[in-house]
């Protein structure tokens, strides 16, 4: 992969951010999911008073602790990168990022750091109910921590609730609730945490299946599988529901990403969703590289339904969105670039008049940035002014396409697996289903693949934008030497790989040791 990365500063900075984000996301979803599974298991213990549930809870709590300890603070590196590699971006987004991250830091510190100690050290020292409350608060705190960073990320995908301050070249929050409750933020939060719940459930099912294969801890394994499969199935259904909502939002807000998910170049009415397909490079059209879908298996009209809620609706393709489609009222990218340039030239003229002391001109130009018509028709395309040609608005179609289909396909496979496990555990028919048990073990890495693929769809699919329509990646990067980014890229690759090896090693050792005390 490394040899394919362009040695330019932008590409190295993007590569480094992708590397750290992907590694960070290896640790996060298991914390999100396993924390709630622990809380459910401990609730059963407190309600039934049966010691075996305490033993089960403590076993999974140990694995939670390993993951939490190795993963904690890996996300802070992303913030370092904002300040060093993406200084234009971090300034431009202003307090939109600062406020949620500050709240996240405080909440994470007080909720997680305080109650996680009670959760681990408090067995037999605090009351059962207080301990249970602490476990629930750790779960809620971990997931609320994710909320704030997702709110900030959602603003980048759909910038609302802010006003651009032309004097400081930064966005300022005008309405916290518009930012916090934007449909993208709400949907993204639900979709992301439920993906963590599914991953955590698959982890528990997979590890428990290993115990059954080894004919160890049968009672614990089956009880764990039942709890995790029910939790996973319910979460998985919420994941599908929020995924459907997400598709509708993407179709409206990020239509190029939506078209790329399906490799849809030419728009059509009643568009079908590909259940399967292979992208093959095809002859250039409209001066840009395109791909054709071969061996396709299509579900008729479903893409139109996903995009709009109507089976026959028109879904624009990449060509329509880049070249424009007058009949469908789609503005060509070239026109957006012109309008963006007007906004940027206005900003430059305002700065120049201010520097020259021409107060009247300065005030008049500044006023445009508070004028609704100018903001809607020109500034909303500000980011397009940095692009050299309209084709750069198209993300990497094959990677977006395959990531999306992998994520969706695996998601439905996980649902089926949870359902089958619930039935088999319920009727006590699981012990001799060795192929199925091995399948569950090998599904653990697939859960991570699906989860990472989701982020690739979300982040790579919205390229070239860092902030949708307002700031492209190329304008967001700091003016620093690419060599310094290369050095830290390799450093991160080394550190994170070390952490991952440590995590897997300690985790496997603890799993092999198994539950240690009490109960059956």
């Amino acid at each position: 992969m490394v040899e394919n990365i362009d040695l330019s500063l932008v590409d190295w900075s993007r590569g480094q951010f992708a590397l750290t984000a992907i590694y960070h996301w290896i640790f996060v979803p298991l914390t999100l999911g396993l924390s709630f599974i622990l809380a459910i298991m401990e609730t059963i213990y407190v309600r039934t008073g049966r010691e075996e549930w305490k033993r089960i809870t403590k076993f999974w709590m140990t694995l939670f602790g390993v993951n939490f300890a190795i993963g904690v603070a890996t996300g802070i590196i992303l913030e370092f990168e904002f300040g060093t590699n993406w200084s234009n971006y971090s300034w431009f987004v202003g307090d939109i990022f600062g406020a949620p991250l500050a709240i996240e830091g405080i909440m994470a510190f007080f909720l997680e750091s305080t109650f996680i100690a009670v959760m681990f050290f408090g067995w037999n020292k605090v009351g059962k109910k207080f301990h249970l409350t602490s476990t629930w608060l750790v779960a809620i705190g971990a997931n609320l921590s994710a909320l704030w960073i997702l709110v900030a990320n959602a603003w980048m995908q759909y910038p609302v609730g802010t006003q651009f301050n032309p004097d400081l070249a930064r966005n300022e929050m005008m309405n916290f609730w518009d930012v916090f409750l934007s449909p993208v933020a709400v949907n993204k939060f639900i979709h992301t945490i439920t993906s963590g719940f599914v991953l955590g459930s698959l982890f528990v099912v997979g590890v428990s299946s290993w115990f059954l294969l080894k004919k160890r801890e049968s009672g614990m394994a089956k009880k764990s599988i039942l709890v995790a499969s029910i939790f996973g199935l319910v979460s998985g259904l919420m994941l599908v529901y929020s995924g459907d909502g997400s598709a509708r939002l993407i179709a409206r807000i990020q239509p190029v990403k939506f078209a790329s998910l399906e490799g849809l170049y030419k728009g059509r009415e009643g568009a079908g969703l590909l259940a399967f397909g292979i992208l093959i490079p095809a002859k250039e059209t409209s001066g840009r590289k395109i791909h054709e879908v071969k061996l396709k298996l299509e579900i008729p009209n479903l893409l139109s339904y996903m995009a709009t809620g109507s089976w026959k609706a028109y879904v624009p393709g990449i060509h329509d969105l880049i070249d424009g489609n007058a009949e469908r009222g789609i503005m060509p990218a070239q026109e957006k670039m012109k309008r963006g340039l007007v906004a940027r030239e206005t900003l430059a003229a305002m700065k120049e008049s201010r520097d020259k002391g021409d107060t009247a001109a300065y005030q008049a130009l500044k006023a445009k940035f508070y004028d609704k018509d100018f903001m809607e028709n020109y500034f909303s395309y500000f980011g397009y002014s940095f692009l050299n040609e309209p084709g750069s608005l198209v993300p990497n179609v094959p990677l977006t396409f395959y990531s999306f289909h992998l994520m969706v396909g695996l998601g439905f496979y996980f649902l089926l697996l949870f359902f089958v496990f619930i039935v088999l555990v319920w009727f006590n028919k699981l012990d001799n289903k060795r192929i199925l048990l091995w399948l569950a073990v090998f599904t653990i890495p697939l859960a991570y693949v699906a989860s990472e693929a989701g982020w690739i769809v979300a982040e790579l699919g919205r390229q070239p934008w860092v902030v949708q329509d307002l700031l492209p990646t190329v304008a967001a990067v700091s003016h620093i030497n690419a060599s310094s980014v290369q050095v830290t890229f390799l450093l991160f690759a080394f550190i994170f790989t070390g952490l991952l090896i440590a995590e897997i090693g300690i985790m496997i050792k603890q799993i092999k040791i198994g539950p240690k005390e009490g109960g059956k």
């Binding site: 140990t62 602790g65 390993v66 300890a69 190795i70 904690v72 603070a73 890996t74 802070i76 590196i77 370092f80 990168e81 300040g83 060093t84 200084s87 234009n88 971090s90 300034w91 431009f92 100690a117 681990f120 050290f121 408090g122 020292k125 032309p166 004097d167 400081l168 070249a169 930064r170 940027r344 900003l347 430059a348 700065k351 304008a475 700091s478 003016h479 620093i480 310094s484 050095v487 830290t488 450093l491 550190i495 952490l499 440590a502 300690i506 603890q510």
Partner: protein
């Protein structure tokens, strides 16, 4: 005599850390990781460029405005 709240909290953590098994190894990993992240990486490799190079928000804004408008 009933011990003070601070005393009880201290011994809660003290006993907790003392009785850790796998946790001790994890704490070593956490401490090494935090040292690398906050001391080595932050100080030597990841300065906040705008904070380092400019002393006020006005200057920072001016610099980014120049970058975004030229």
């Amino acid at each position: 005599m009933k011990k003070s709240l601070i005393h009880r909290i201290f011994y809660f953590y003290y006993d907790g850390f003392r009785s850790m098994t796998v946790g001790k190894k994890l704490w070593v990993i956490i401490l090494i990781k935090l040292f690398i992240i906050f001391i080595i990486l932050k100080i030597f490799f990841f300065p906040d460029l705008l904070k380092k190079n400019f002393s006020s928000d006005k200057e920072r804004g001016e610099y980014v405005l120049e970058n975004l408008s030229k």
